[in-house]
């Protein structure tokens, strides 16, 4: 079974973010970059399927040169080869422009299952996987928390999260795009031999021209939703801040809880 996983490298979400001078994205200087949390679960799920049913796992990403470290991480976890959409024209794209580039890069590969995370932690549009499914003519299921493949019937049975903590159980034909929810599995740590092997696994660089796309179809130029600016959310509700040494703060809060909240 051929499986593809689309991953994204994002800034560490514990960082302090400042807005870049053009206000369209964050100032990336000095930030640490890591694999998008959701995508780690997607990579793990893909590797588990390969271990169970055989086949290969291709990991695909889009971004500047630095994102190779995220491809290497997926390869170290157990993916077999990487595709890096590595062209400045790809950058700054919305969900549609990104999905178009990713879908084009997998068109010739014809994977039976494509995994993505439910969303990225930075842009958080939660659309790329589903748009890819439409562009490739694949079935899809989003917010997936369980995957069982029946290769003989070319079917997959999945659970997806819905409101109130319930799950839909659905069956889909292959090929399919599944967007993976966090918590579906426990992503493995790359082993030392895994990290060594990953250095030798192939990564193919792909440009806009290689995909037969026009630069105006991808990146910011190909976006259907354009980011005008980033904003720091307005404080909608001013909390009364309690400050001082921990002992002091604890005393203040207990008085509030007794006299104002009346829970004590």
């Amino acid at each position: 079974m051929k499986i593809a996983v689309c991953v994204k490298e994002v800034p560490d979400m514990e960082s302090h973010f400042s807005i870049a001078p053009d206000r369209k994205w964050i100032d990336e200087s000095g930030l640490q970059f890591v694999m998008n949390d959701f995508d780690e679960f997607a990579v793990e799920e893909a590797i588990r399927l390969k271990e169970k049913h055989g086949g290969e796992v291709i990991v695909v990403t889009l971004g500047p040169e630095r994102v190779k470290q995220t491809l290497r991480k997926a390869l170290a976890m157990g993916a077999d080869r990487g595709i890096h959409l590595n062209d400045a024209a790809f950058l700054g794209g919305d969900a549609y422009a990104t999905a178009l580039a990713l879908a084009k890069s997998l068109e010739g590969e014809k994977p039976e299952i494509i995994f993505t995370g439910v969303q990225t932690e930075d842009d958080a549009s939660s659309q790329v996987g589903v748009i890819m499914a439409e562009l490739l003519g694949y079935s899809h299921a989003s917010v997936v928390t369980k995957v069982e493949v029946d290769p003989s019937r070319k079917m997959v049975k999945v659970h997806r999260e819905i409101e109130g903590g319930d799950h839909q159980v659905l069956e889909s034909s292959l090929p399919v795009v599944l967007t993976i929810q966090t918590g579906i599995n426990e992503p493995r740590y790359a082993s030392l031999p895994g990290i060594m092997q990953a250095k030798k696994k192939p990564i193919k660089n792909v440009s806009v021209a290689d995909l037969g796309l026009s630069p105006s179809a991808v990146g910011y130029a190909g976006s259907l939703v354009q980011t005008v600016e980033l904003l720091v959310p307005k404080v909608e509700h001013h909390a009364q801040m309690l400050s001082g040494a921990p002992q002091e703060v604890a005393k203040q809060l207990v008085i509030k809880l007794k006299e104002e909240v009346k829970v004590l």
């Binding site: 659309q127 409101e163 159980v169 259907l224």
Partner: protein, 328 residues
């Protein structure tokens, strides 16, 4: 006519979801600001007329019911094909979905069918010089992205629950029209088999008068005893954010937020929880919210009534002591 703003209504087990009235209110408001009319779209089987009634008696001026046996259960094929037909015919300017399990699954596919943009998880909007802008969260809720559409309508958006006021009740009763869809269910690629409720561990935090919730900031499973100790001192239950449940530090039933429980206790104490929107929708109805977080910029402080910027490991132990002293 690119004059319509559609909203796609959702029900939960036959009762119109609150978010349907929120996106109805938003559709009407954007319509008023941009000189457009609005209407609700409702998909389903035989139950459609009764559900449409729930919308029009609340003042929704027009509801288009799309009725087909194959729409009685959700499927992306059924929903996307049926909506594509109505949208292709009516050519709306904008189609609003809830940021829900339906919105996240159907809206991106439908927008891609029209090669038009979808703004996701929107929480605010403006109309400036006739142009529509949405604001949506990014960077784990730490920043907002202000976006606009490029290209031609129909434009699409998914809207966060609780971000907009419900359509006010009252007003003239609206009209319902029923249309059918041309669907071939045997060609559907995905099929809903059943809906299951994952195993219950007997914990129900939704009725607790006090909920003390821990987030990623608690650090690990062993540290969580501190959260249990504080909950015990306050006579409450323990809640948790999504990453905590994903990591297996506490049971799934304790998760508060969009994919977990919605709680409205008298007191909610958020410890080491940054306050992603998915968490906030599950707890912002609490009467009093106390937030303890070492990051002064954490969005949780935007909804908290009392805030403490500090290390929860230093703050909680004396807090437990003080509560015990106060209780005698």
């Amino acid at each position: 006519m690119a004059e319509d703003i559609f909203f796609v209504a959702e029900n939960r087990s036959g009762v119109m979801a609150d978010v349907s009235f929120e996106i109805a209110g938003l559709a009407r408001e954007i319509g008023e600001k941009s000189g457009k009319s609005y209407a609700g779209l409702l998909l389903g089987g035989g139950e459609v007329p009764a559900l449409a009634e729930q919308l029009v008696v609340r003042g929704v001026s027009e509801v288009i019911g799309i009725q087909h046996e194959a729409l009685a259960k959700y499927s992306f094929d059924g929903y996307c094909q049926a909506l594509k037909q109505v949208i292709a015919e009516r050519k709306p300017y904008l189609v609003l979905f809830a940021s829900s399990s339906v919105g996240i699954d159907a809206a991106p596919r439908l927008a891609a069918m029209f090669h038009t943009g979808l703004a996701s998880n929107c929480m605010n909007y403006t109309v400036e010089g006739g142009e529509l802008f949405f604001e949506r969260p990014g960077f784990n809720g730490k920043l907002r992205l202000r976006v606009k559409f490029a290209g031609q309508p129909p434009y699409f958006a998914t809207i966060e629950s609780g971000a907009f006021k419900q359509l006010p009740a009252g007003g003239a009763k609206g009209k319902v029209s029923l249309v059918s869809a041309n669907l071939n269910p045997s060609e559907f690629r995905a099929r809903l088999l059943e809906i299951v409720t994952p195993s219950k561990g007997g914990v129900d935090i939704s009725k607790a008068p006090v909920v003390v919730a821990g987030g990623r900031g608690v650090g690990n499973k062993e540290n969580f005893h501190l959260i249990f100790d504080l909950a015990k001192a306050l006579g409450g239950e323990v809640g948790a954010s999504r990453p905590v449940v994903d990591s297996g530090w506490v049971e799934y039933e304790r998760q508060v937020g969009q994919s977990g429980k919605t709680v409205t206790p008298k007191l909610y104490v958020a410890c080491g929880i940054s306050g992603a929107i998915q968490h906030l929708v599950g707890m912002r109805g609490a009467q009093t919210i106390v937030a303890i977080n070492k990051d002064p910029e954490a969005p949780i402080f935007n909804v908290a009534h009392y805030g403490i910027v500090g290390d929860l490991f230093e703050v909680i132990p004396p807090l437990i002591e003080e509560i015990k002293k106060m209780k005698g």
